[in-house]
Symmetry: C2
Subunit: 335 residues, 2 copies
């Protein structure tokens, strides 16, 4: 009996991870297993109505008893997002730092040395005043977060490494790449356009790119991200060795390369729906993000597949929209 | 009116810093200033009886109101030590992490953007499983703490960098070297022998070195450490630039080089009082510590003097013992 918990289990990645685990139970699950999803918002209907799922809805910081109740595997994905934490400093401390600390203490008290996969972020990297960021960052690059979100993610990585060193749990921190293509509407995140400049043209809508076409960024598909999360949970400690964070596989592309891929996959008419209008606020934020990430542990040591190319990332989105019956609207520009 | 606070103001470095500030008021102090020392133990008698000093005695975590009361400069030196925190995990979290967080929140609420100098440690460095530590670490080496003490120091560095980025305070984190020569008795710290193998022979007492003579370590004298703390507080933000931690100047020496220096300064009879008997527990701890530190910002950019040599560190100790009238006992082996 493997007892599995996903925090943020109703979110964009959390729900996809839950569906993947239910449809492809990993080797470690054995004959029986339980899956608990906790989230501050109600779960998507398919998960909420799934008899195999236990839902615990409410703020993370109310779940102290839940965390101490004895799980074997925890995917800790719940997080307030970057923009929110910049606007509300105390929210970041409370939600992303204290929430994680409460979880770690619960897991320690449970006493069963559970495996923990923690979703950290490329937001841990940045240029500190007087210290440039390398053109390509890797797992051994000195982190220099330029948001409270990134700072708290990094701090949790180091807390988890110390809990692991002490033998209280077996923690694995992963820096997730910006996930692309996100379905749905544009949101307030500065990274929203990385999905928008693909998603909107495919839907037949004009999209305005707020940064120059030579901006480069590490991206990963939802599918690649989910497979990496599962792979990191399944990896043996002897193979992984590292207690410090690893970086998940990335496709490092410029905006220009993204649009070239869009033209190859969807044609010039779709690409032509993207125009450029520089937004200084967004451009300034993006300038502090890594342009490219090298993910040695994930790709070489652990053999995570990642994405073949940005073309493949676009095709995955198109396939997903078709498979979920959303082609009429989401792919209106392609038809 | 510059209002100055030293946490751990009665401790080994804190008391020396306080005496130095009182006898050599820095440029930033102006015509008048106030000096508050807080410590969990009573202050040394000279400081306790000094009319210019305000003493606040009690645990750090009781000082929330003190921190919010409006200081202009804070030297945050108070800390539970490494060995204690390894034995008592919750002590480390409570004292070194939560204590510092409470202080940061107090300073933020005070709203006057004070300058904060934080004493971090070379204990932030180490070899992570699967990741060797470089022969010489520098300010841009990826930290990999191998004690909770080191982990919490690193976490506080990153919290302070974020509070600084947000403009809540002007924080400067410094990784202090192992201070040598500490007066007094051997204590339980694994690093105790670095002082013991100099101090005991000078006092005419045999000292047993628990590690091999090729062990190398970064050391600094008390005087160098105090001058670096003052220099970091006085440095302008425009000069310093860096929000991430800097390393204080170090004399990188092997045990063999320390003993050669002892022979040069104090003669072969003094050196002959050091014998070697390997202590596997101590040797294993020391193997996780950096062998040498490069301190570019402190030495090149900020021009901190550091120590000329390990010979000079020994001579400083001898001079201090003579000046404080302790030569009869502390230098009994030299006479």
């Amino acid at each position: 009996m493997t007892r599995v918990l996903i925090t943020g289990g109703g979110g964009f990645i959390g729900a996809r991870l839950a569906r993947h685990l239910l449809s492809h139970p990993p080797a470690s699950w054995g004959a029986t297993s339980s899956l608990t999803l906790t989230d501050q918002y109600p779960l998507p209907i398919d998960l909420a109505s799934d008899k195999r799922v236990t839902a615990v809805i409410g703020p993370l910081h109310d779940q102290g008893a839940l965390f101490a109740s004895g799980f074997d595997q925890i995917f800790h994905l719940a997080s307030a997002v970057s923009g929110e934490c910049e606007l509300d400093f105390e929210l970041g401390l409370r939600s992303n730092l204290d929430g994680t600390r409460m979880m770690l203490e619960g897991l320690r008290r449970a006493g069963n040395q559970p495996r923990l996969v923690f979703s950290s972020s490329v937001a841990v990297y940045g240029p500190d005043p007087g210290l440039a960021m390398p053109e390509m960052v890797d797992e051994n690059t000195l982190p220099a977060p330029q948001t409270s979100y990134g700072a708290h993610k990094l701090i949790c990585e180091y807390l988890i490494a110390d809990y692991t060193r002490k033998g209280y749990l077996d923690g694995r921190s992963a820096r997730l790449m910006t996930v692309c293509v996100r379905p749905g509407k544009p949101n307030g995140a500065a990274s929203s356009f990385f999905s928008g400049i693909i998603r909107e043209p495919l839907a037949g809508i004009v999209s305005v790119c707020p940064v120059d076409s030579n901006v480069s960024h590490p991206l990963a598909s939802p599918q690649s991200t989910v497979l990496s999360l599962v792979g990191l949970m399944e990896a043996s400690r002897d193979t992984l060795k590292r207690r410090l964070a690893i970086a998940f596989p990335a496709v490092n592309v410029t905006v220009a390369q993204m649009l070239d891929a869009l033209e190859r996959v969807a044609g010039p008419a779709v690409r032509a729906r993207v125009t450029f209008e520089r937004d200084e606020r967004v451009a300034a934020i993006v300038a502090n993000w890594p342009r490219a990430v090298k993910s040695d542990t994930a790709t070489t040591l652990l053999g995570f597949p990642g994405d073949d190319s940005f073309d493949a990332i676009i095709r995955q989105y198109i396939d997903n929209m078709r498979a979920s019956g959303q082609a009429d609207t989401a792919l209106k520009g392609l038809l």
